[in-house]
Symmetry: C2
Subunit: 322 residues, 2 copies
Amino acid sequence: MTGRSLRLGPGGEFDRLRAIFATLGAAGRDLGDDCALLPVGGRTLAISLDLSLEGVHFRTDWLSFREIGWRATAAALSDLAADGATPLGVLVSLGVPGNRQRRLGNASTAVQIMAGVGAAARSVGASVLGGDLARASRCLVDVCALGVAQRPVRRGGARPGDGLWVTGRLGGAGLALAALRGGRRLTPVLRRRFAHPVPRIAAGRWLARRGARAMIDISDGLAGDAGHLAAASGVGIAIELERVPRWPGVTPLAAAQSGEEYELLVAMPRSFGTGGGARAFRRATGLPLTRIGACTAGPGLRITDDGRPITPPPGFDHFPPR
Amino acid sequence: MTGRSLRLGPGGEFDRLRAIFATLGAAGRDLGDDCALLPVGGRTLAISLDLSLEGVHFRTDWLSFREIGWRATAAALSDLAADGATPLGVLVSLGVPGNRQRRLGNASTAVQIMAGVGAAARSVGASVLGGDLARASRCLVDVCALGVAQRPVRRGGARPGDGLWVTGRLGGAGLALAALRGGRRLTPVLRRRFAHPVPRIAAGRWLARRGARAMIDISDGLAGDAGHLAAASGVGIAIELERVPRWPGVTPLAAAQSGEEYELLVAMPRSFGTGGGARAFRRATGLPLTRIGACTAGPGLRITDDGRPITPPPGFDHFPPR
């Protein structure tokens, strides 16, 4: 699939990316998928770069520096999971304030972030390979995750008739965010879900081996990422909202809008469902896998809740159109 | 050489890195060299991550956004050159202001930076493979450069008796920086040297093939980077300052202190000099290669100017010790 340019969903960030693709011309290839793919020595390297900025992607009064490091690394590793790749290592660029006083001093800021990066990397068998360090006015963590994919799964391979499945349960990240914004304390289990997301590496590899046609991780919200998958594959997607597995206390619509979930949305051939695929997945990974809809011939995203049509909620977008 | 931890030179940034290495324990390997090395499918991948921040590494009133993109990419590619690697591709994380008005609008900021990134990548036969984009209070460009190295050259392989050589001429970057700080216009040739550095890819590959023992790119200044090479190799280094090839109007000491030169400093076996190596290098690359000193058995950096000892000037350090 290398070398194929991808159609992107709507949104200000994607308009901007389209203009960048046009500027790059022949030098830019395969932009817009979760990972870049690079053939090296007969294998396929999957590479993801994921930028986390203070005040945009995280707040230092909501998360410890160790959690900030873990979360930034998990986000990059989640992109590898969505390609069905096995992580090898990460590199990290850190920006930390040079003058502003931190609770534990400036030196410890970088050390604590890197402790979280190292723990997240170790949790999936990867090494910290290198990186860069600079003084910055606000914290930033940019994580490059590298892995190998035996059979890379992209966003663009779904076909009409494929079943649409999701790992885990959705809405926990959105629930945590709402509580933090309202100044409420998180329960330990919700805090863990928000601060310590687990990249679905084993799940992504299992699904790739079992013939996944297209896969994406849910970072922009289920509705937004389903739109990306539909646009890249040139198919329609129909989601039955009442089927979406949800965190307790989350409405179906909130579950479809919740970003930074880091679960996988995957199109599987129809035979996967009739062949007991979800039970085998649960035995292998310990996670639920739920069929929430299907890929269709017509274009666009169609969402229903108990049969009633719902207007697709917008995905998370750092650059809302003006 | 993979898996070897490196001794680092003195300086606040390096004290900080040492604490980070200690935190990472087994997960961190090979940190501190120009590139990380990763064996993939029987080949050796060289990876560099290089962070450029507005107000720290560049100013938007000194450089166009296209030049900012070129320079950030050249810096990451220069690390590949120092390992003797052949570039394959780059990934780029961009932060651009979402609200602040730019001369040509916000959309064009990212597009112009990426035009510079794409041009620098194409200049060495590499592709833009992917990246990330976010709203940031100030511009940032983090470039991950990937290449393959047939015979990777690290900082730590120099031996006593090796000749110490440098490519090109030093001091142009420092001269440009002083002029910009003083509000003076740059001559076109000096502006090109500063805004459009050429990563020494062909030079690095040639030197690696010809048996380079240790190599580093001059980003912290000749004196600083010679100190890093000496510390990593466990050798001493003697530099004869009067031999250092200089940009017109640059003193020997200024040439030794000038950072962001992106030339290569390389330890070659003694036989290289007697075998007419520099002439062959010039024929192959069009660049001068000058012997400026030697590696010695005793530790530390010894700099002389026409025989008089000079106190080594400090290298460029984003985190001066407090």
